[in-house]
Symmetry: C2
Subunit: 434 residues, 2 copies
Amino acid sequence: MEQYATQMDAARRGIITAQLRSAAEKERMTAEELLPLVASGRAVICANKRHACLNAQAIGSMLRTKINVNLGVSRDCKDVGTEMQKAAAAVQLGADAIMDLSSHGDTQPFRRRLVAECPAIIGTVPVYDAVIHYQRDLDTLSARDFIDVVRLHAEDGVDFMTLHCGITRDTIARLRAQGRMMNIVSRGGSLIFAWMSMTGNENPFYEYYDEILDICREYDVVISLGDACRPGCLADASDACQIDELVKLGELTRRAWAKDVQVMVEGPGHMPLDQIAANMKIQQTLCGGAPFYVLGPLVTDIAPGYDHITAAIGGSIAAANGAAFLCYVTPAEHLALPSVEDVKQGIIASKIAAHAADIAKGVRGAREIDDKMAEARCRLDWQAQWKCALDPETAQAMRAARKPEHDDTCSMCGKFCAVRSMNKALAGEHIDIL
Amino acid sequence: MEQYATQMDAARRGIITAQLRSAAEKERMTAEELLPLVASGRAVICANKRHACLNAQAIGSMLRTKINVNLGVSRDCKDVGTEMQKAAAAVQLGADAIMDLSSHGDTQPFRRRLVAECPAIIGTVPVYDAVIHYQRDLDTLSARDFIDVVRLHAEDGVDFMTLHCGITRDTIARLRAQGRMMNIVSRGGSLIFAWMSMTGNENPFYEYYDEILDICREYDVVISLGDACRPGCLADASDACQIDELVKLGELTRRAWAKDVQVMVEGPGHMPLDQIAANMKIQQTLCGGAPFYVLGPLVTDIAPGYDHITAAIGGSIAAANGAAFLCYVTPAEHLALPSVEDVKQGIIASKIAAHAADIAKGVRGAREIDDKMAEARCRLDWQAQWKCALDPETAQAMRAARKPEHDDTCSMCGKFCAVRSMNKALAGEHIDIL
């Protein structure tokens, strides 16, 4: 009945799918403009055929920058209902994607409810789930066990999966020879490294990549090629381990495209500010323009408790230079499981980074809301300002908590308000300051 | 008795002052390295001859990026003792400079106590104070009144003063002809614009600039040339009003240097991320490398309540591209007078921006603390991590609030901790995840 295998296959055949049309509308593009980007792999539409309630969106460097929020059932938070509420709140706050990183108990019910009820793009990391799913220690798992979890997640309707296909036995040798201050900080990457070390086998996600591609083609799962060797501190940034893995991810990207499987590539990590633009450029050349999905980058290592800010700095520069998709970072990063408030702070900071980058990139219509805010500010129209604000409740509460003496100013400047003085001066009115 | 007029004059004569020596040590430079930078105006040492307790520091694009905190007695907070406590807390948190923006009552006692007791660089904006000092409406003040307040602040021992010398009657005409979405958002700039509009006179800070230079030379006050026309929204960024004023500020910089008066130049403002680097470059060419003191830049207009983050993004990019001095922005910007907690959040965000930029610029020793943090993280040594953290109390409290099951991990990843897995794998140990 279906005329195509994946969104990429459809685009290559010139078929405009419902998902492509819907995604294009959100970008203020015609379907005809978006189609060649999907056909060439420069944009992906994460849309598992089984995710019926999906509100389809495209991800690509020339499109609005998307943001991802990590959730999941854990030892500390086992209730599926609570996690579903967090997911709904995240979408409400502007999350485009939810990654389910569940790490405890039976993970399937939450994953299935997300696919059944959540309109956001859903992602998972099957290697986390393998240990939990089988309830067996890591070294007892077989390559087949890992592949079977990939199939299980595909069947459950997951739109994209992080698969650390680029870390191999070569990586173990290189990492030992080169030395790295923080070794591997990717959780999935460290699990595969540990499994390879204990079993002596090759990375199953690399060895059986063709089989994985067949699964992804069948369900139209986007592969998010994990960066096991992303730098975990400034000192490791842009080193041979990281760039060598990126070379491999570029090769794996092309192998996926040959089977019409859509691909994103994951990136750093901790990184000095001056290296970010170069990293974005190299990813584009090595990976043929496949969308870059970055965690951070965090521009300093010394701000635990504030890594939503270090990541917002790095993320805005990354996205302005071509990253397509930002993984949120919360204030609790490096310290603890994020609270509900941490999740909110992480989302807002990521939204700021993404939006600032979209303005810089000239994404269609991105700056309209800023111009509306400026107009409202110039009129000292507070109601109109709240309508433009990223988080109107917080902004309103701050103003309300410190009431100004005069309604046409705020307590920050009072009658020293520059906007008030200028409006009067330009109207030829007398200006009273005292 | 004194052998020199200002720090610039001393440097030009090859005299190594106590302040220069002290400032150089903090930069891990020899006095001989710093001296030519001060002589040429590319670095300034803000050190009023009457500020005896000053812990002298230099400001320049090649030096550690400094940050400023705004305080001051206001209608809502009239107690000098409370403001002094805030100043001490700000210095404790890492503020290099305190600007006293008092806007209520008798402003002299707080200003004098700051100079008598505070080791940070002290700055003021005399035009704010003029209205309050004379307790007369703006249009009744004479040019002489303004100049007298400059002299008063110099006598009181202020290290640098923001003087909006670049806004002139030409600016009124240009602004009216060109049109601007947010007109002028600089408080001082709007006061001068209003005064010029009401009196028909030229800007006294421009007209009597030579007299001001004589005062600044006498006490060694650094002039911070105010940017009255800094953009107040993205739409106004890098427009003719802003750049024309910068051209004038460059001319005024050279006139000051001719009298051995030290100068900083103030800059944007609200600005799309992709315009920041260009602005830093143009300031350096137009102003001969005089230190650039920026407010923000804020990379989007739509985040009231979070402008410490929008400013951290812009500030880090600005400083990495040559800005020398960042004015902090708090979460209350555009909304209300900042609370004590807002002040703290503003300082931390500015410190992150400045530090990230210093790493990117290769400022001597800047990254050492990050490398120490990475070593501590790799050892899972939490005590050592707190010693490297920008705000150890906040970080410790977050970890403590969500106790991990195992002491060698945190509640974020538990036994999935990549650092733990890698340490075991590299040591050839068995890795248990369940």
